[in-house]
Symmetry: C2
Subunit: 218 residues, 2 copies
């Protein structure tokens, strides 16, 4: 994107962060299948991917998928759940790291946008394949999705009460912040001029202007 | 999305706008196949869709696809080209409808966001399936995609020169505006509380705050 020109101290770590999201998964074969699932679903879509595609990417037989997951849709649910949890932990850690008001909302925007740049393939699977999640699994994800909204809404409200922010519609502003950060996963390229962290800071500045606050880095 | 609460005068026209984008296509069977292609690619992804899926949706044989399009990828290119053209025409018409500055950029944001709400399945195919476009067809789309950026950039610059807008990074601000409007296609539901037009006005107000201008509807 020509719009994001700037020099950066970008570390070389394409894919490393996405692997970290799944560190908790055992056994290693299940973890390998989940990571292969992220790559396949991001490249081919859920409907365009077979269990054979996933298994072959890590030199396993298609039957190996069913040893660890009841179905392709359950494998997707595992990806989606861990992806949502990782993004939510990142957001809540950023919120806890700064005092209420401008600094807190800026840190949250910055961390949430950077997460979507760093984990863009995972984020695409999480956001674009919700319709393929088994219906009985959706309430759990929906509770987490609602949590993203309430964390942003309550932080904006805190800032408004402290006369540090303004918003014509708190829920609408929170939704727009989430939307802009999520869309990073669609267009971000690690070959582009901005690191995830630099993009995060840029978005925090832009969106703090939207919330009528002074830029966080000024 | 809970953030977008508001009463609306929403017309009943799900799908009608997307059909209008393809009105220029002849013969009618080619038009029907393209519209079926939008539905299939939006639901199943390009890789998850067969030419049989597309043909069956309009009661034609798979061979009928090849009468009108050399390949599934060429059918996708036709969808993408007409989709880009429609969005660009909408944007340029909005730009021409208002004087430079706050009104013009507000009208552009409003129209562009509303286009993505009205044509959300088409917009998803246009934005999410770029990798499946045949390489020799990409330069034509890339020229149009660059045009979206320059139209927003030049309008913001006009506003800055007239002391009506400010932006720390014109190209970055234009990119964020495009991104927020494009992401509407991911989450918008016609069953939700906002009409495409109401969402467009809301986004224009939010983003004019980002550009440090007074709300267009104030």
């Amino acid at each position: 994107m020509s719009g994001l020109i700037g020099a950066d101290d970008r570390p070389m770590r394409e894919g490393a962060d996405e692997a970290a999201v799944f560190d908790c998964l055992e056994p290693p074969k299940a973890r390998a299948l989940v990571m292969a699932g992220v790559e396949c679903f991001a490249d081919l879509g859920f409907d365009g991917t077979t269990t054979r595609d996933i298994a072959e990417r890590v030199d396993l037989s298609p039957a190996a998928v069913y040893v660890h997951f009841p179905s392709k849709a359950d494998l997707l649910f595992t990806i989606s759940k861990l992806g949502h949890e990782s993004a939510l932990q990142t957001l809540e850690a950023a919120a806890a790291s700064e005092p209420p008001g401008t600094e807190r909302i800026g840190a949250m925007i910055s961390a949430f946008a950077a997460w979507h740049a760093r984990n863009r393939r995972l984020a695409k699977v999480v956001q674009y394949e919700l319709d393929a999640i088994p219906p009985e699994r959706r309430p759990e994800l929906n509770r987490m999705r609602r949590r993203f909204e309430t964390v942003f809404e309550s932080t904006i409200e805190e800032g408004i009460e402290a006369n540090l922010l303004t918003a014509p519609d708190v829920a609408g502003a929170a939704m727009a912040i989430l939307s802009l950060c999520i869309d990073v996963a669609r267009w971000y390229s690690p070959q582009g001029p901005r690191s995830p962290e630099s993009l995060g800071r840029f978005y925090a500045d832009l969106l703090l202007r939207m919330l009528n606050a002074a830029p966080a880095t000024a």
